[in-house]
Each structure stands twice: as structure tokens, then as C-alpha cells.
Amino acid sequence: MKTFFSLYVASLKEMARDRMALFWTLAFPVLFIFLFGTIFSGGGPDTFEVGLADQDGGPASQGIAKAFGEVDALEITTGSEIELLEKVREGDLRVVVVLPAGLSASLEQGRPVNVPVHYDPSNQTTSTIVLPILFQVLQRIDRGLSGAPQLLQVEPVSVVSEGLRNIDFFVPGILAMAIMQIGLFGTAIPIVSLREQQVLRRLGATPLPRLTLLASQVALRLTMALIQAVLLLGVGIVVYDLQMIGSWLALSGFVLLGAAMMISLGYVIAAVSRTQESVTGLTSILNFPMMFLSGIFFPIELVPAWLSPAIKAIPLTYLGDALRQVMVDAPGSFSLATDALVLAAWLAVCTLISVRFFHWE
């Protein structure tokens, strides 16, 4: 289709010559990564300070203390519960594990024991990295106690501690955010602008089929999304030693699905906005809550429960979640299948709405 290809190439040239658009689409997300990398790399520790209050002193408790001590990623400090909790409040310790009195005795009798783990929930690293490590260690010990064969030894713990730094969390999140920007700022606003200036009307005076025009517009944005992915991933790998763990196929799949969904959302916004002022306003109103409530800057588990319906309603949440899982194998809040399904559903609904309500003039 020569017409489609010419339109596609022409709009690529148009984009490539638009310095502002290039900045916001490509340079800005990269700057974001450098910003976060700088802020957090100083405090991106390889070990985490954990307090252990052994109130029991029995053989089982000593065994647990020893197991914790063997984990390279944990720096254990012992003391009384009160001392150690004070240190958590002061920020010297991330977590305090309390082994209550009577633990060893209960375990010997096969009775379950509650092991309190105190931590500061506002600290993202603690909740997303340290706690899982502790849980894994405790699980391993638990299995050992119940007599199940200890097949899983040190390996799983070291994967978690080596692979997941703050930057590993941010890069997929920022890619998700950048893809959303393409849908909002990169689609809705330019299209309303072209419509307002009657460029689209001029095209409508020629035999150019509307579908061809639409296809070329969408193809342009999908291309930009892929370029963003390559760029951000490249920066992450080269500068921050990001380990790309998941499959490239799954990554491309989610990038394209997420981009297609955000583009269709962009068309919905363009459909309901009459003027450039209203489209800029609407995209800004949508942009900021989506960015902050979708787990890109801090995990959604930390957001108060009453906001959780809002979080689940935001498509960016699922895109960020999927990219994190696929790129760095981070624990996900939803399954990949759920993520894909939600994004696909949003894509379908937005497409239907646009088809019904979008006007070229």
C-alpha cells in the first residue's frame, strides 16, 4: 500500500523534525531514569540491616538465627525487642524479627508459632525486597522443620538480593509511563491540533481513505513505543547493569499491547475534546493520578486501602506490573494473564468508543 507507506514515512519525518516532541517522548523518560538512578544509587545497598530479637534462646531459635546469618544480603544485629524497635524507628534497622519465648518448645511439639516481623511500611525497599527475603528464609526453615526435603538452599535467596535494586524497579515502570505518554500527549494532543488547524479536513478533500490515515497514525505511535522500549532498556542495561530476565518476546508483546491500548485511549480523549485547550487539560488531569497511583514510583501495596479500587481501575497499573515481571522478574501484584486481559479489554472498549465518537473535523 503505497499510500499508507508514504503517509507513515511522512509522519515519521514530521515527528523526527519536531524537537519538542522528541524531547518529551525520548529524552524525558531517559532523564527520569538518570534522575532516579542518581537519587537511589547511593542508597541502593547490597545488604540490608535486620534486627533479631531472640526472646527464646532455644535450639530452634538459634537455628533460625544461624540461617539468617548465612544469607549474604542480611546484616544481622541482635538485641532486645525494645532496643531494636527503637533502631527501626531511627532508621538504623529496616526490620526486626522477634522470636518469641517458647518458640523452640512449640516447634518441637509440632505447634505453629507466630513470628512477628516489625518494619516501616513507608520504606519501599523494605517491603518489596527485604520482606520477601525474610519470608523465603523462614519458609525454607519451615520446610526443614516439617521434614520436607531441603532441595532449595541458598540459590533463590541470592537471586532476589542481587537482582532487585531500586533501579530495577524503576526502569520497567518508567517504560510503562513513557508508553502512556505516547497515548496521551503523543496521540490525543497532536491529533486535536491537526484537526483544529484543518489539516485533517484538507486530507478529507482527497480520495485518501480514512482507514489508511488512521493506520498510519497508529503505526507511527507503535513505532515510537518500540523505540522508547529499546532506548530505555538500553540505558538500563548499559548504565545501570539492568538484568533483563524475562523473554524478549513477552516484553515486545506487552510493549505493543500496552502501546496499542494507550493509543486507543488517546483517540477517545481526542474524540471528546473539541479544542486544544480541552485536550491539554484532559490529558493532564488523567496523566498525574495515573502516574502516581499505578505502582510506578512506589508499590501499590503501600497505598491506603480506600484507594485500591482507583488503582485497579487504572490501566497503567497493569502495564507497569507486567513489564516489571517480564523485565526483571519482580514479584507481581497480578498474574501476567490478568495484566494482558485487562489491557486487551481496555483496548477493545476504547476502540469501540473512538469508532463511535471520533470525528475527523
Binding site: 503505497k2 503517509l7 523534525r17
Partner: protein
């Protein structure tokens, strides 16, 4: 072929309570330059858009090159050239790039290549300039070039010289005259009287969504004015304004502040009477001149308004 290039019957288009086009009918013969003359808001652009297939009439129909534009828009659009009033284009493409791009919109139709068009419209030296860096006149030329890509049989030009300096306007008139010579039918809209008079074979005078007169420019003037007009400035504000009406030959008078227009069937006698009046009262009329009546006078007579409000 004998059929008309455009046949419009009873076109109507309403926006809420505004009657933008209120029952317009006309025919444009092939090879003709047909003009729609009227002030802003008269309904010219809306009418043109209905012929181009960019707007659907609320009632009435229009056939373009024998085709119903609402039923077969693609066929019509392949054979017409359109220049819109606003000349917005992709801002960061060069002149050549946008000509090449638009050419791909007409697959299977014979079309001009970009070199030919740039030479034709004098845009060669701007070949590599981004469209956003073109001057007003250059943009107009480019939009005409775009309208010519598909070698159209019928060209729609909506206010082709608005906003152009006098030189650029003259150049555009030459382009339109060349189009006529090559046999292209031209439908243009304008609010410039001189444009309609010097370019158009026939003119439809429109106001408030209706055609109030339609004929050749000369016929329109002759029908409504067998007179000439004498104009001058009356700086002393003669109290007897009725005095002018009694001058020999005068049929109507019009005063616009200090500016007086006398319509007369016998300019010589009126001038004699004016000189006598001036001598008698020892007054001097400033900036006196005599001219033929124009389409502007026709419009003024029919609507009481000027073309440029």
C-alpha cells in the same frame, strides 16, 4: 460533454438556529470561471464545502461532474482540486515532500509530478523549505499546487487571494486565468469586487445564505445601474443635503459622513451643476472623481451593506 460541471438545487445548511445556507441553487458550465461574491458569513464557504463533499446538506442536492457527491465521494474527489480557506498543512514537511505525499493519494489517476507543479507555481527555490517557514503568498501558491496535482477538471478556490499583498494577488489572478485557458472549470468565492469583476464569467451575489443576484458582472451592473457615480468629500458639510438631489441627472445620493456619492445618468450635466453650485456658494469639493458603477454598488443597492463590513 454538455453537462454542467456543477448543478446545485435548493441547498440548505443550518447550524442550530443560524441559516448558513438558505436555499441556494445555481449551475456552473464546463470551462467557466464562476464566482460567489459576498461578505464574510454569507454562506460561501459552506456552499463550497457542500460541493466538495466535506459537508452534507440538510436539504437539496448538488451534482458535481455529473456525480452525486454524497453517494460517490471518492470518484468526485479524484477529479476535483480543492483549495481551502485555511492553508494549514503538516508544518515540518518540505514543499517537495508534501507534493510527493499528496500525489500518493490519487493512485491510478494521471497526476503532475512535483517538479512540474513547483515550476508552474513558482516554488522551485522553496523546494526544501518546511511549510511552516513559507510566507503567506507562498503557502497560497502551494495550496493551489496541491489542488492541481490530480489534473482536476474542476477547481474549487475558497477566497484564494485573501491576506495576499497586491502583487501576490495579481499573480494568483494570472494563475486562474491560465487555468481557464487550459479548459479547467473554476468555482471561486471572494469578497473582493475587483476579483469577481476581472476574473469571473458569471457571478452569484450572496448574502445571508441566499443568492440575491446572478449574471455576468457587466450585466449585473447594467441591470441595476444605468448610471455612473460621482464621488467627493464635502468637508464643509453643506446643510442642504437635498441640494445634491436636485442637480441635473442625479437619481440617488448617498452620504457616508463627509463622503458623498451621487449616482447619475448624465455625469456631464451633474458635473456642470456641481461646478455652478460650488461657484455660487464659493465652496470647494475635495477629491472629486467620476467612475462607473461596480459590483460593490450593486451589492450596496441590493442589501444596504458593503462587501467589507
Amino acid at each position: 460533454m454538455d453537462q454542467n460541471a456543477i448543478e446545485a438545487t435548493g441547498l440548505r445548511k443550518y447550524y442550530n438556529s443560524t441559516k448558513a445556507v438558505d436555499g441556494i441553487s445555481f449551475q456552473v458550465a464546463q470551462g467557466e470561471v464562476f464566482g460567489m461574491l459576498g461578505p464574510n458569513g454569507a454562506g460561501k464557504t459552506t456552499t463550497v464545502e457542500m460541493c466538495e463533499g466535506l459537508r452534507t446538506p440538510d436539504s437539496g442536492q448538488v451534482s458535481v461532474l455529473g456525480l452525486d457527491v454524497t453517494r460517490e465521494p471518492e470518484k468526485v474527489k479524484a477529479r476535483i482540486g480543492v483549495q481551502l480557506q485555511t492553508t494549514a498543512l503538516y508544518p515540518r514537511l518540505t514543499v517537495r515532500e508534501i507534493l510527493d505525499l499528496f500525489r500518493t493519494f490519487f493512485p491510478g489517476k494521471e497526476s503532475h509530478d512535483s517538479d512540474t507543479l513547483m515550476d508552474l507555481m513558482n516554488l522551485r527555490e522553496k523546494e526544501k523549505t518546511l511549510t511552516k517557514n513559507l510566507s503567506g503568498g507562498q503557502r497560497q501558491r502551494l495550496s493551489v499546487a496541491l489542488a492541481l496535482i490530480n489534473m482536476p477538471e474542476l477547481m474549487f478556490l475558497d477566497e484564494p487571494t485573501t491576506g495576499l499583498d497586491p502583487q501576490a494577488r495579481r499573480n494568483m489572478w494570472d494563475v486562474i486565468r491560465d487555468l481557464r485557458k487550459s479548459g479547467t472549470t473554476v468555482f471561486l468565492t471572494t469578497h473582493y469586487m475587483e476579483e469577481a469583476e476581472s476574473l469571473c464569467d458569471r457571478v452569484a451575489v450572496v448574502d445571508a445564505g441566499k443568492i440575491i443576484a446572478m449574471d455576468t458582472p457587466r450585466e449585473l451592473v447594467n441591470q441595476h445601474f444605468q448610471e455612473s457615480a460621482i464621488e467627493f468629500d464635502d468637508k464643509q458639510n453643506l446643510p442642504e443635503v437635498g441640494a445634491f438631489r436636485t442637480l441635473p441627472g442625479v437619481t440617488r445620493t448617498r452620504r457616508d459622513g463627509q463622503h458623498v456619492t451621487l449616482y447619475t445618468t448624465d455625469a456631464t450635466s451633474t458635473l456642470g451643476g456641481l461646478s455652478a453650485m460650488a461657484a455660487r456658494k464659493a465652496i470647494h469639493f475635495d477629491d472629486l472623481y467620476v467612475r462607473r458603477a461596480t459590483l460593490e454598488d450593486v451589492f450596496l443597492k441590493l442589501t444596504g451593506k458593503t462587501l467589507r463590513e
